[in-house]
């Protein structure tokens, strides 16, 4: 475990040097939030309207929080590095190291998002309060309760991204699969809460990563309830266990393929 902590710490220290670069990403985040604020302002014809049980303020905050998680967890490590290591043959050197490659990537990724996400969180709070107003019935203690959900959500997201990147063991370019996963999360997960979809679709959506990665943390911040909290935490624990199982399975199977091809 200690070696992963060392990797995590070194990446964290490295990323602290590049906070200005991370801050430049705020421009894209602000533009997207600006578009969604305009969109939902238009969709809510009259103040006080409810869409799928959400007020306008709750809906905009929901989108801002899901986008915050999305931007805060953006990383070339889980997307490009894994794929590039496999395609370029560098993986042959990395598998010999005294660590498990997927955990090494996860440790690196954690070091990255631990800087990015808090920065985006502060920006979200500032933009939200200035442009939308405070979340109705929000209690600051909610944040403390939701932090584990966010951590689990981001980790689940990383595990699935690593799984997709490791498809490069079999296919040359795993990017097309990344696009589809990203769009599933972005289009279905970040823009709309699950309740907005037809009732028949909602149980299906709860089985997808959307529920644990985006919906869970954002829903708890805009509309906290203890029952929902427990339900989401349990779903995340289950998802993480299954996701890690799949990740190690792909890695083991892919490793054998690597041996056959000679790296």
């Amino acid at each position: 475990m200690r070696k992963y902590v060392v990797i995590y710490r070194s990446v964290l220290m490295e990323n602290l040097q590049y906070t200005a670069n991370i801050a430049m990403g705020f421009i894209s985040y602000f533009i997207i939030i600006f578009v969604f604020i305009n969109l939902w302002e238009y969709m809510y014809a009259a103040p006080g309207d409810l869409i799928a049980g959400y007020t306008k303020e709750q809906m905009i905050w929901y989108v801002m929080i899901t986008e915050m998680i999305w931007f805060g967890a953006r990383s070339s490590t889980i997307r490009q590095q894994v794929s590039a290591d496999i395609r370029g043959g560098n993986i042959a050197y990395l598998v010999n190291k005294p660590y498990r490659y997927p955990l090494y990537i996860l440790a690196k990724f954690t070091g990255e998002w631990n800087i990015q996400l808090p920065m985006y969180a502060v920006l979200t709070a500032v933009i939200g309060v200035m442009m939308v107003g405070v979340i109705p019935n929000f209690h600051p203690v909610t944040i403390l309760a939701v932090v584990p959900c966010i951590i689990l959500g981001v980790t689940i997201h990383a595990v699935f991204k690593i799984c997709i990147s490791m498809l490069s063991f079999w296919i040359e370019d795993s990017n097309p699969f990344q696009w589809l996963y990203d769009k599933l999360i972005l289009v279905v997960g970040t823009i709309f809460p699950v309740e907005i979809f037809p009732t028949a679709l909602q149980p299906v959506l709860k089985l997808t990563p959307i529920y644990t990665v985006c919906y869970g943390p954002a829903k708890l911040i805009v509309d906290f309830s203890v029952e929902k909290y427990v339900e989401i935490l349990l779903a995340q624990a289950l998802y993480l266990a299954v996701g890690c199982g799949i990740m190690f399975w792909i890695y083991e199977r892919g490793g054998r393929k690597l041996y056959v091809n000679g790296g």
Binding site: M43, L180, K183, V188
Partner: protein, 264 residues
Amino acid sequence: MLTAVKNQVRACVLSVKYNIMREMLNKVTFLTNILFMMLNNATFIIQWVILLRLRDDVGGYTMREVMLLWGLAASSFGLARILFARVFSLPDLIINGKLDSYLVQPKNVLLSVMTSETNTSAIGDLLYGLLLICIFCFRVERFLLFLLFTVTGAVILTAFALLMGSLSFWFVRAEILGNHMVGSIVSFDTYPDGIFKGVARFLLYNVLPVGMMIYHPVHIMMEFDAAKMLRVFGYLFVLSAVAVFVFYRGLRRYSSSSLMAARM
């Protein structure tokens, strides 16, 4: 003069052709990239089905207009990245001194740079745009206008990316700002202009090229307006001229990194 132009055009066409042939070396990856990009774009239909279930129109756009908007945005973006993909990574060439191999060629530097890369997945974007207009709002005259505006949109997007990329000749971190500015076009151009008001609307029509690239053309395709069409062409020529001027002014400041490189 005419022969020189013909030769230059031929060189550009050959450059793009060889880019695509290189990408086609692995046919499975090539086709997967195209098909998945089309699927990737199609996921946004879900978003609009849901939004248009909540209200009859969004910013004055029904499903037909939204699909036209999306189709034009995708095909313009696709065409720009098929023909001129390198413009979008111009800062990398400038900052790392990789322009040398283009400077020594007996052809136009800018056109050589612009056509030296093709993005495979962009073919999927272009096809997706054409498919959308054929499925959702096909009419012969509209289709012809669509093709015309795909070209003007691609040129406007390329010129804007060239302008932003050329700032790297003067400023080291300009590529970050430039990438965000070009990226912001993609964020705005797939949403109806009717949802934006005040300053935002002014910026979309006057600072960012979204209005001239997408919104005006969509309005023209729905209801022909010669004045708007002239405005689009005027904007295209002015923006292109400014972008080319800035690139060549910047090129005077370019310094090689003595990097050994060859164009294959």
